[in-house]
């Protein structure tokens, strides 16, 4: 494996490393106001925004890394750390709060032994508290994002949430 974790200007390596992002950069690098779009697409491809990725975007677009970092940390959507295979987005909207989303969070934390923002050791799950998912009538709600798409689960209880997670675990370990 090439040693490309450095912060020097070895752009040729990075270009190879981030070749999947190239079409996005070709399209948007020089369109003003496209930084957020580029970061969103980069995160879609790689799952998170690494330091290398930010430096690469900086080199191609000419936007300073500090500014990219500033934008990436401003918005809730961007992550600077890799996430698990299944991203649990637990709704913390008002309706979910009133209907006991804290109890659901405790149940998930208990079952997977992770807190908000953390990833399980086996890399299967990351737990993220999010603002409203907009399914307020089904509160409490969570959305689980994986390569298979987004799945929303409503009317959660302590037991149902554990069952959902256990089913995913079983499926993953069975394959």
């Amino acid at each position: 494996m090439k040693n490309n974790l450095c912060n020097c200007n070895c752009t040729s390596d990075r270009k190879e490393q981030f070749k999947d992002l190239q079409p996005v950069l070709d399209q948007y690098a020089h369109v003003p106001g496209s930084l957020i779009t580029i970061l969103q697409k980069a995160q879609d491809i790689y799952g998170y925004l690494s330091v290398d990725c930010i430096n690469h975007i900086s080199e191609v677009t000419g936007i300073k890394p500090a500014k990219i970092y500033g934008v990436a940390t401003f918005y809730a959507q961007f992550r600077l750390q890799p996430v698990g295979k299944h991203l649990i987005m637990l709704c913390q909207g008002t309706a979910c709060h009133v209907n006991g989303s804290e109890i659901i969070e405790e149940a998930i934390s208990d079952f997977l032994n992770i807190k908000d923002g953390e990833t399980t050791e086996d890399g299967l799950f990351t737990l993220n508290n999010v603002a409203c998912l907009g399914c307020c009538s089904l509160a409490p709600v969570m959305m689980i994002r994986s390569s298979e798409g987004d799945e929303t689960y409503g009317n959660l209880t302590k037991d149902s949430v554990k069952q959902i997670l256990a089913d995913i675990q079983k499926r993953e370990k069975g394959v």
């Binding site: 409203c132 907009g134 987004d150």
Partner: protein, 582 residues
């Protein structure tokens, strides 16, 4: 015959996709001549998944809570034998949820297939833009909106015609129309429903608005948390382009209009106009001083008009039916209808569109069916983090911009979170302050640091460590944050605290002086006790995660309060009602 399965995000969350797949499987298996179609959310979220079956004579039967395992019975009874399957059919009472409403914005939600432009056209879609482009001047369009009395549905309630007129009169190289679809209020989902259920009405509204102000480009700034909305908008835009409603020389009028979607990246403050524009330009979404207003200098320093989804979705109806028809609904100052998202401790949660001026009682009890499990109604929260809690004694307040403002809350974007006797109002204030503290962009000191300090005080109170003077300190800080903040986020952030102090001061005092949580919800201030109803079945002691419950078999058990973490598992477990929460 046609089977239509409601597939908004909420329907899908309850398994509507599996229900639709099951219908398809069985219809194919039985070789029936029935089509399975999609529609958006009809608004009766508590009945999802919802399936409508249209007979050949056009008659519709609605089935509710159709889990996949219920499909076979419906197929057998209705599709094969042509008999209504009563067991899953909607009850007359539940039918009232929609029947009692007056739908303008939601007119097509849950009726048409949002992914098929033909169905929108069939119900009169794109007729308004045709009327505008073939027979009206820009001034006439603005006049019609003025007659309708339409006000911004995003929260501020500013007259829509005035904004359009200002943008029209400002000169610029380019002009932009932006639709704010960054529905950030936790507890509000009206816009999501329109975007998912009737995207064409928004597109048509935007073309009309673009024509009125002379904008050539429309941008929809949509939340990234709404992937289905973005997908359906993209489909709708492509179809509109193909039909010639978007693009060059629409209806041969010489008017060109293009549209695109920009996905937001998750920041509540981007609901503020100038922050939204900064975000569109790829920057951190931080508000700036006004004036200049966006109508003069907005996106890329050009005249820009920003309207909310619901506002724009009203526009085609107003143009088609006339401003006077819209203005005839509602009250003198607050005209037309408004969509509310009813959620929280409510029996029938969902979307409710009613003429302005109905009372809170009409909406919560008349349509929403009252409080879950028949508990006592305590308050309703309106306006999200910028709004406030309206107590039970004000339930006969009419829902208009003016009357709700008088209570200290705001109509806002339309979220209505209902609370019962188990909801702690101090905890509610803490919840909202935690939200605004998190979402403050950090530009103004008072908003950045003040919300943090207020939150710390509230956290202390809910932990049972409140002290004399805390309430006054909260009030003082609240006024300073209001005065010292540049944008609406900071100016309104203290509202949830101020309204709860105003109406529920006794709860604050209970926490601080009596170390008691009135609603028995703050963990630090409650305790569990075992009464003499205990028969000594030992189940609770087995379930207790920290081994705090001891006692002999067939003898009354006891809880070690030192060890107890107040998780409440014993209370849930006990079959004899022997555990008391105090």
């Amino acid at each position: 015959m046609k089977v239509v399965v409601g597939q908004g995000s909420c329907g899908i969350a309850t398994g509507a996709k599996k229900t639709a797949a099951e219908f398809e499987r069985l219809i194919a298996e039985k070789n029936l001549d029935v089509k399975v179609d999609v529609t958006g959310c009809v608004g009766t979220c508590y009945l999802e998944p919802i399936v409508d079956i249209y007979d050949d004579n056009g008659e519709m039967t609605r089935y509710v809570k159709v889990k996949p395992e219920k499909v076979e019975a419906i197929v057998e009874s209705h599709l094969v034998n042509h008999n209504k399957y009563e067991e899953q059919a909607i009850t007359a009472e539940d039918e009232q949820f929609v029947a009692k409403q007056q739908r303008v914005v939601l007119r097509n939600c849950g009726v048409i297939n949002p992914e098929n432009i033909e169905e929108y056209i069939e119900v009169g879609g794109y007729k308004a833009i045709e009327k505008v482009l073939t027979s009206m001047t820009a001034d006439e369009v603005i006049e019609e909106i003025k007659i309708s009395g339409l006000r911004g549905r995003g929260g501020a309630g500013f007259p829509t015609w005035f904004k359009w007129d200002a943008a029209k009169n400002n000169k610029g190289k380019e002009k932009y129309l932006v639709c704010n679809a960054d529905e950030g209020d936790p507890g509000a989902f009206m816009d999501r429903s329109v975007l998912e259920g009737d995207p064409h009405s928004l597109i048509e509204g935007m073309i009309i608005a673009g024509y009125a102000m002379g904008a050539g480009e429309g941008i929809i700034y949509c939340r990234a948390e709404y992937p289905l909305a973005i997908k359906r908008l993209e489909i709708a835009m492509a179809q509109a382009r193909e039909k010639g409603y978007l693009g060059k020389n629409i209806f041969g009028s010489g008017f060109d209009f293009e549209m695109r979607i920009k996905a937001g990246a998750g920041a509540f403050v981007c609901g503020e106009e100038t922050a939204l524009i900064a975000s569109l330009e790829g920057e951190r979404g931080m508000p700036r001083l006004k004036p200049p207003f966006p109508a003069a200098k907005g996106y890329w320093q050009q005249p820009t008009n920003i309207n909310n989804v619901e506002t724009l979705a009203n526009v085609p109806w107003i143009i088609y039916n006339g401003g006077a028809a819209f203005g005839a609904m509602g009250t003198q100052q607050s005209k037309g209808t408004k969509v509310f998202a009813l959620a929280g401790k409510i029996k029938k949660g969902g979307l409710v569109e009613v003429p302005m001026g109905l009372t809170l009682r009409d909406v919560i009890f008349g349509i929403g069916g009252g409080i879950k499990n028949d508990k006592k109604f305590k308050a309703v929260q309106m306006g999200g983090p910028s709004g406030g809690c309206i107590p039970a004694e004000l339930i006969d307040t009419p829902v208009t911009y003016e009357d709700i403002n008088k209570t200290g809350a705001i109509v806002g974007s339309g979220g209505m979170i209902v609370m019962d006797e188990d909801t702690c109002m101090v905890d509610m204030a803490r919840y909202f302050l935690n939200f605004t503290r998190d979402e403050s962009c950090g530009k103004c000191n008072y908003c950045r640091i003040g919300t943090k300090r207020m939150l710390e005080i509230l956290e202390r109170i809910t932990r049972g460590e409140g002290k004399d003077g805390d309430i006054e300190l909260l009030e003082e800080l609240a006024m300073k944050i209001k005065d010292g903040s540049l944008c609406g986020l900071g100016q309104t952030a203290p509202n949830p605290v101020l309204t709860t102090i105003k109406y529920f001061r006794n709860e604050y005092e209970d926490h601080i002086y009596n170390k008691k949580c009135t609603a028995k919800s703050c963990k630090a201030l409650i305790r569990f006790d075992i009464t003499d109803k205990c028969i000594g079945c030992t189940l609770c002691s087995k379930k207790c995660p920290v081994g705090a419950i001891t006692g002999a078999v067939k003898g009354q058990h006891a809880i070690d309060q030192e060890k107890c973490i107040r998780c409440g598992r014993c209370l849930e477990t006990c079959k004899f009602g022997a555990i008391e929460k105090n």
